[in-house]
Amino acid sequence: MSDTIITVENLSKRYLVGHHADQRGGFATYTALRDVIGREARNMARRAVDLLRGRQILDGAEVDEFWALKDVSFELKRGQVLGIVGRNGAGKSTLLKILSRITEPTEGRAILRGRVASLLEVGTGFHPELTGRENIYLNGAILGMKREEIRRKFDEIVAFSGVERFLDTPVKRYSSGMYMRLAFAVAAHLEPEILVVDEVLAVGDADFQKKSLGKLHDVASKQGRTVLFVSHNMAAVENMCGSAVLLEEGRCIAQGATTRIVQEYLREMTRAATTPLEQRLDREGSGEIRFISMVSEGAGNSPVSAFRCGEEAILHFVMENRTGRNLQKLRTAIKIFNEGGSCVAQLDSWLLGQDAWEVFPGRTSIRVVVPRMTLTPGRYRISAWAALNGNVADWILDAALFDVEGGDYYGTGRLPTTGRVGFLLDHQILTETTQ
């Protein structure tokens, strides 16, 4: 019996994407009625032809090919834990879906020598009207456990989830925390040879995340199962995975020891952050208003290469409104992440009480002013988010980065150096002689 449990050879997956020819920026421009009729008639004719030829019906006149995965190959031996990392949209979930047999590859093949259980979502199949007890049996059966197995492990599952008191109430009454715990409890008691886990641990509160990571670590190291783990949490990946694979735009661009891959990934993120914002395609939202550039500025609105501790720091964004009309109720928020990927600060116009912004067509300049930079020296990344009237308009993760250098925060002439983490807090140290 060979030791290799998963072999993936040149796995590729292609999707067909339709485009509407006469729409710009994601929303229709005004057209004459005769144009609309003409367009609809052509659409119907094209769909009829597609139907007869057995092709997929797509919305839009132009059809594009989108390769979610292209020529991905790797091997995994029994008992190994493989981390799969990459940016959003890199193809990680697609890879897992193919290995879980949920969707078929377009090219290539994968050979699995063992039972696979997938955790792509917590609480798959949970029905809100059924009680916790009934949902345990339902979810367990859906995940592939036999009734006998569920019955045997029932008490363990309930104990792990901690919802014993509410076991006979419909799940729609559960708090989100209880729901997650129950769902994860069932999934955690799967016993497959190969376990495929997709960022399920990213949802839920800190307690839940800690517990689920702990259990996963248990499964991986103590039970010796083979695990494929997709996550954005680099700390978890480094902790649990012996080796990792880095995906970027559907291709496997690196694989090997985890530390090296994580470093490579972080380097990729930096590279992404230096692509001009205007050209960035990995954004979400309606697109009515878009971030197109960011510049770091210091006091007096003059561009700087890095911020200094204790001095005024300005993040100057330029946003563009291409809709041709005035947009209401703009809200922007910035999240600041340190190099480890942890979010260290949030800047939000809503928290500042600035609710009534109206945005005119064209470019708008937004300056986020931090009077005294309190972050310790280092490199930071930001994600930028903008919403109009409550609907997300533009959201880019890793939109830009900035550096903070040591500055005289406390006015004592002593500068904090790189390597310290956390914040510089205003403080005093008082001493008193006691008996």
Binding site: L51, S100, E104, G108, I111, L112, T124, G224, S243, A257
Partner: protein, 312 residues
Amino acid sequence: MARHPNPLMSTVPTDLLKDANVVPMSNKDQSLREDFFGREHELIIEPGRTARHYWRDLWQYRELFQVLAWRDVSVRYKQTVIGAGWALIRPCVMMGVFTLVFGKLAKLPSDGAAPYALMVFAGMLPWSFFSTALADASGSLVGNANLISKVYFPRLIVPIAAVMVAFVDFLIGFAILVVLMIWYQFAPGWQILLLPAFAAVAFLASLGVGLWITALNVKYRDFRYVIPFILQLGLYVSPVGFSSNIIPDNWRLFYSMNPMVGAIDGFRWCLLGGESQLYLPGLWISIAATILFVWLGVRQFRKMESSFADLI
């Protein structure tokens, strides 16, 4: 926390290994991996490759049929007052209305000496099963989209479970029929023994047409609008409110191509004994149509199954 020992590394500190405490797979796990002939359970995922193990998978996931059917049945009556009573009320009311409209007002003749109400009910039961099964099955895949996009199991289970749920309703209706027969003091003949066979024909007819439409519905959502229309039409074209004997002879064969004609006529014949006549050539055509639909349905479903997750 101990780092996971990388087997690719040749020099691993022994204390790390001790921490990891890798437990060798038990014998039971071994047997899961190897099938009856000791061949390793190897799964190859390739484009266009129909799983060798599809039917074996279906057997392995057999409990899921029951679980999904049970889920749909339990959920139906949650938070209701009358609860399972609805399963009884609906067929009774339908039967009452049909007897009134077709028997008393339109004065269509009954089969032999059997009471009209009984004839209607005996025809309505399988039709009601077919109609519910078709409506539920065609929406079942789209309705379970969250499962289909996140978990693997043979997708055939979903529409079959929907048909099973309709079958439960059928059994309840059957119990009412028995009560009705007792009330009319109508004793069935030896033909009743063939009842399970015709129930099976009805089941297969529902399954066949259901699978075919379900598979197409995932790709072309037009079927969502077509189905209620087909079912309404079918109600008048199938011998539910009337007896097949009123169809003129030259149309009889064409009329029999409706798979439910055989099931309903056969059902009536079984229940009402000699009072209802069975037109044999029509019956065979109907059964042939049923088998054709089952074959078409399964084939279409299997062909489209691999792309469900992408289209749903």
